[in-house]
Subunit: 247 residues, 2 copies
């Protein structure tokens, strides 16, 4: 009987060096692995649905881990993990899953949210959680630019090279939803999957359109052509939240 | 012509040693005074509407300062101050006021908010901004207990001694409003003024009632009697926000 555990994790990315294990060990993956190691006195590898960069937050990152046994009830496990983790990382849910489940390969859909703050003054409580844009950004242009990314495209122009070349850079974005509430603008991306830095590069392009720095017509023609890469601007990591992973 | 400036300030109290100037200089008052000193090359004293303890936040603290001249426009001043302050402190508004205005003595009313989080798991983004109460708290008892504080009372039993004895410990609370939205409970106190630690001591009492640790009937009889002090529990500083000061 499988002892593969699926966990949903929330974190405030500000204090950590991203998801993926590093030598300094101050990453979400490292801290989760240390917590599991304290409970089952052996090293256990935690597999995330995807890596998030330093500064990126999560409301519902997912991961799996193979436990040596399934004698612990999921509620006990969740409480034990949370007592061992810093308050900026919380295990929200645990459940045992079949061995065929894989946090990364079984994921069918991801929801990312990007937050902009369009006002001169950034309130202290939003610091490190939004991209602060005190200068004028035209929101109707932002909406039009955002809509151009919906559909199945080769997003090679919206990916940062992480040392290796992705073979397949075609992804589907099901929807991009732009909402405004006072100075806060949220842009929700619902897609089949996202390349490295893809959301931040798309948001950078959308915002540059909204600032009038990229003409919308040029954007729509060239958006997915390789020469568009020259104009790329990645939105800062701290405005990004991994909201949910669907299986 | 007076060069007395009134400022409204917001801050995330987590990183600072409270409002009042200290030798370590990492307080809101010290940081504001340093910012003013950079603009007008001389030391200027900033007078707050009230001191907030280490960890207490503000959405609308008020203060005044006497500038050596009024040649700077208030918008310029606000931008200059914010460029010199850490992101966790923001000057929201500046205006020149009459010399008869005093941030502390002219205040007629203050609004404080206390935030509770009633759920097993505290989300990372709420860490340091609520009092996390994972165990059962009865909200209808909380509402009844809260209502008992409305009115004009001698709040001596709900004040911490700050080295000196306040002569007058009578204060009026105009309303206490308890609201729930999912696991978040906010308790808004609107009053003529508040003694040192008064809101935190009241919230501690209210929560102890809601936990069944203080019988409500006893509370209502003894609430304002000196012997009630023995049962006092101050709610943690980080759940408290100074929302507004009225003049």
């Amino acid at each position: 009987m499988s002892a593969r555990l699926k966990i949903a994790v929330a974190y405030d990315g500000a204090s950590f060096g991203g998801w993926q294990s590093q030598s300094h060990a101050n990453t979400i993956q490292d801290l989760l692995e240390s917590a599991f190691e304290r409970i089952f006195p052996q090293h256990l590898r935690v597999h995330g649905a995807g890596r998030t960069d330093a500064g990126v937050h999560a409301l519902g990152q997912c991961a799996h881990v193979d436990l040596p046994h399934r004698r612990l009830e999921t509620g006990e496990l969740r409480r034990a993990l949370n007592s061992l983790l810093p308050p900026a990382i919380r295990v929200l849910r645990c459940c045992y899953v079949a061995e065929s489940f894989h946090a990364r390969y079984s994921a069918t859909r991801k929801l990312y949210r990007y937050r902009l703050w369009l006002a001169e003054i950034l309130p202290p409580f939003e610091s490190g959680r939004v991209w602060h844009l005190p200068d004028s950004v035209d929101l109707s242009t932002v909406r039009t630019a955002a809509a151009q990314f919906v559909g199945t495209h080769d997003f090679a122009g919206f990916a940062a090279n992480r040392g290796k070349t992705d073979c397949d850079t075609v992804r589907t974005i099901y929807s991009v939803c732009v909402r405004q509430r006072g100075p806060l603008v949220t842009i929700d991306f619902d897609g089949s999957g996202f390349l490295y830095k893809m959301v931040r590069l798309i948001v950078g392009t959308i915002v540059q359109s909204g600032r009038g720095k990229i003409p919308l017509s040029a954007a729509s023609e060239d958006l997915f052509s390789p020469r568009f890469r020259r104009t790329r601007l990645a939105a800062p990591a701290h405005g990004l939240i991994l909201v949910r992973v669907r299986y």
